[in-house]
């Protein structure tokens, strides 16, 4: 058995496998729910209702999609240039860290200058965090998969140290938690009274910007060329190492915006459970989107919908919450496989 690429796949080929994957996910989810003692036929309805069934559900899904769009973009940008940034998690926390460091009183500015400044500082922090592995890669050939992945653990422990020490909220009853950011450092809600903050709009704008960069600018052209064929790019005179460094700056900055947006828009303070692995899930989001920045928005909404829906379903059906995690994992695995099958066919021999 081997895979053969398909040139110009038709509409059935593009939509068929993902549809099958969705169907299979529903069947598997239902069976799992049955094993756990719930009514298998109510599962799909409960997931959909939990994700999109009410205004609250929809806003919850959009909120959940926001950090995933940022990390998904970060990964999509880097992977497009074949720079394997597995460290979006650390960059996310880097952005969050900067937001609380400067947002809890060090700066006293009105919101209209405070927020852009915090966002910018977060971007710089994330960019610098990824610049180090990038330099190690272009200078010494150190594999960035290893450095960015391992750095996640180092950086999370570093945050943990800060939260137990200098950043610990004196009013926090001893919890490892930072102080809350100032009101001027909070992203306002898009519509007053509705629980959706401007971080979501920022994420959409970021996706649009990345798309414009990739398709309209020389930098995007260079990044795609380097990703598709480093040897030919170098031969043609594209400064491959410089492009990789620029890619790292952009990718790290995007991931850091997820941290900024979560702290400033949603949580208000930094804790160690700020991200339930958004940095890693961003990889899946980017892969599902075939690294297309606009596709990242759609796949982030899909993943967030399953997150929120499966969670809500497990509560409503009275099954353990880890079933939701299993369903999410199943859905993502099947979808990644389905996306693969939209571009390749399996042949014997």
């Amino acid at each position: 058995m081997r895979l053969e690429p398909i040139e110009n796949p038709g509409i059935a080929r593009r939509l068929g496998p993902p549809a099958l994957a969705l169907g299979a996910t529903v069947v598997i989810a239902s069976l799992l729910a049955m094993v756990a003692g719930a009514n298998p036929f109510s599962v799909l309805g409960l997931i959909l209702k939990g994700a999109f069934g009410s205004q609250f559900a929809i806003l919850e899904t959009l909120n959940r999609a926001t950090p995933l769009i940022f990390t998904g973009l970060a990964v999509a940008v880097a992977f497009r240039a074949k720079f394997w940034n597995i460290g979006a998690e650390a960059q996310l926390y880097g952005g969050a860290l900067v937001t609380v460091v400067f947002g809890t009183g060090m700066l006293a500015l009105p919101a209209y200058s405070m927020l852009p400044l915090l966002a910018l500082l977060a971007v710089i922090a994330g960019a610098l965090l990824l610049l180090v592995p990038a330099i190690l890669k272009v200078r010494f050939g150190v594999d960035e998969v290893v450095t960015t992945l391992l750095f996640n653990f180092i950086f999370l422990l570093f945050i943990s140290m800060l939260l137990e020490g200098p950043l610990k909220d004196p009013m926090g009853m001893g919890w490892p938690k930072s102080a809350r950011v100032l009101p001027e450092a909070r992203l306002p809600r898009i519509v007053e009274g509705l629980r959706l903050h401007w971080g979501f709009a920022l994420a959409l704008i970021a996706a649009l910007c990345v798309w414009v960069i990739q398709t309209r600018t020389t930098l995007g052209y260079e990044m795609r060329a380097v990703g598709l064929n480093r040897e030919a790019a170098a031969f043609a005179g594209i400064p491959v190492n410089r492009v990789l460094l620029q890619t790292a700056l952009l990718s790290g900055g995007l991931a850091a915006l997820a941290g900024f947006s979560e702290v400033s828009g949603l949580k208000g303070s930094l804790t160690l459970d700020l991200s339930p692995g958004y940095g890693y899930t961003g990889i899946i989001v980017a892969m599902l989107a075939l690294l297309n920045p606009l596709g990242v928005v759609i796949s982030a909404l899909f993943v967030a919908g399953i997150f929120v829906g499966a969670d809500s379903m497990s509560r409503a059906a009275g099954v353990p919450t880890y079933l939701a995690d299993i369903m999410l994992a199943t859905a993502l695995l099947l979808m990644v496989l389905a996306i693969l099958l939209t571009r390749f066919r399996v042949v014997r021999g």
Partner: protein, 510 residues
């Protein structure tokens, strides 16, 4: 061909389609004991597909393969080998870190209890080597052998395994003329002792020299099958091309002008196993084609990298328009008017998943007219691509086609257009026609000649001595990174150049 009892290999009505393309259309072929068949055809004629079917890499849509009267199961890649059909690929399949003997016995003699067989195996290898004049030492490490020697190991491997049929895929591409003669002597001897050979080539004079029978493929069809004694080169050429006579461009004499680029005593470090340059001095003159002959892997890559801006001279000086360039990167080279046609158009010349437009601007996307302040001007890029497509006759569905869907010839035309549209001063053509069909070869050559005639300096690097001697105004031979003196057109015969290619003239000269 009759179904005589001495037929060792028989392909019966093999058909293979890839989508709408018929790669093999009902091809039947039989090979008799002690016979050499030449399989002749341009690239894309279906030779490779046919061999892949024979070796079970592909399954034919219909038709069958039989060896010694036994039909092979389709899609089984070991069946042909076990039935006694061996193949020597263009890219050898040897383990560099093992000895010649280990390579030859690998997979035949058991790995365990080797003590028993080792002496016998060694004797057998030495016997075969002597009988067929394949001089290699059984204990030599394959990694240290020359290309010609490696090929001998491959042939020994087949002989050691008692192959009935040997398939040679473009075996002379990596050899000097003398080595080619040696190879042919070996093959004749092997045939006399009962081996049958399929010789895949597009060099007509070699086909005429070695084959008993010639089978010509065109567009997946078997279009001709003649005994060598009943045909000649021009008839075969016509068969390959389908009647359309391929006319090689006329080469006129020109007077060379001033030196546009000079290398003075340039040396570079070795690149892996391939030698770097050793004290190389040459000058590229306006209106002159300088041909660089040599067996592959003798420093051509290093020279191309220096001229093309990928590498700075380790020692010595590069002089461009009478002064050493202050910066020397690929982009500097392009800016200073150097057109670079790379050796490998798939891997270095183009980006397969970019479309024609994106590939057309690959070297010059920076700055006017294709971008300003970091913003690309796709309209200008598209216009440029369309211009190349039209002017250089690139056959494609449109400028938004991904370039990997193009044939090698059309890909090369795009590269030619990309570099020649800038009216370059200096042209670096590294293996510019490798793997192209005759029509495309003539086109590329005529473009190089036209560039020379308008005053450009051309550095032509090729392993094909015919190409070098036909086009070049002056010829240098490169061997182990050393450069021979320049020879004027016609000054040395191919055989004499071959001696230099083998690295022998240098000892005489020094």
């Amino acid at each position: 061909m009759g179904a005589g009892t001495d037929v060792v290999l028989r392909l019966d009505a093999i058909t293979k389609r890839f989508g709408g393309l018929v790669a093999n259309d009902a091809i039947s072929l039989s090979l008799r004991k002690g016979e050499v068949i030449a399989l002749l055809g341009e690239n894309g004629a279906g030779k490779t597909t046919l061999m892949n079917i024979l070796f079970g890499q592909y399954t034919a849509d219909s038709g069958s393969v039989a060896v010694m009267g036994q039909t092979l199961p389709p899609g089984n890649s070991r069946a042909a080998l076990e039935a006694g059909v061996g193949m020597v690929h263009q890219h050898f399949t040897l383990a560099d870190n093992m000895s010649v003997q280990e390579n030859i016995t690998l997979g035949v003699d058991p790995l365990l209890a080797p003590g028993l067989n080792r002496a016998a195996a060694r004797k057998r290898i030495l016997d075969l080597a002597e009988r067929f004049h394949l001089a290699v030492h059984p204990d030599a490490r394959v990694g240290s052998l020359s290309v010609g020697e490696r090929q001998r190991v491959e042939i020994l491997k087949a002989l050691y395994r008692d192959m009935k049929v040997l398939i040679l895929d473009e075996p002379t591409a990596v050899l000097t003329p003398q080595e080619t003669d040696d190879l042919f002597a070996t093959l004749r001897q092997a045939v006399a002792s009962g081996l049958s050979i399929i010789f895949i080539s597009h060099k007509l004079h070699e086909v005429m020299a070695i084959a008993h029978r010639v089978v010509v493929l065109r567009h997946g069809r078997l279009v001709g099958e003649v005994a060598t004694e009943d045909t000649d080169k021009s008839a075969l050429s016509a068969m390959m091309m389908g009647g359309a006579e391929a006319r090689a461009p006329e080469v006129s004499r020109t007077e060379p002008g001033r030196a546009l680029m000079e290398l003075r005593g340039v040396s570079t470090p070795n690149i892996g196993n391939a030698p770097g340059l050793k004290d190389v001095t040459l000058s590229l003159r306006a209106g002159q084609i300088l041909g660089l002959a040599g067996v592959s892997g003798n420093g051509q890559a290093a020279l191309a990298e220096v001229v093309g801006g990928q590498r700075k001279p380790g020692s010595g000086t590069l002089v461009l328009n009478d002064a050493p360039p202050t910066a020397w990167t690929p982009r500097d080279a392009v800016r200073r008017g150097i057109a670079r046609i790379p050796e490998d158009r798939h891997k270095t010349g183009t980006i397969s998943d970019f479309d024609l437009t994106e590939n057309a601007i690959l070297e010059r996307y920076k700055g006017t007219p294709f971008s300003s302040h970091g913003w690309l001007n796709w309209r200008a890029a598209r216009r440029f691509a369309d211009e190349i497509i039209q002017k250089y006759d690139v056959r494609c569905p449109g400028a938004d086609t991904r370039i990997r869907l193009l044939s090698g010839g059309n890909m090369q035309k795009l590269i030619l257009g990309r570099v020649l549209e800038a009216a370059p001063q200096i042209i670096l053509a590294n293996q510019p026609v490798r793997g192209l069909d005759i029509g495309a070869v003539n086109y590329v050559h005529s473009q190089l000649l036209a560039a020379r005639d308008r005053g450009a300096a051309v550095l032509l690097i090729s392993e094909d001595l015919d190409e070098i001697t036909r086009l070049s105004d002056v010829i240098h031979v490169i061997s182990e990174g050393r450069l021979s003196p320049g020879f004027a057109r016609g000054q040395k015969s191919p055989a004499e150049l071959g001696i230099w290619m083998a690295g022998q003239g240098f000892a005489d000269a020094s």
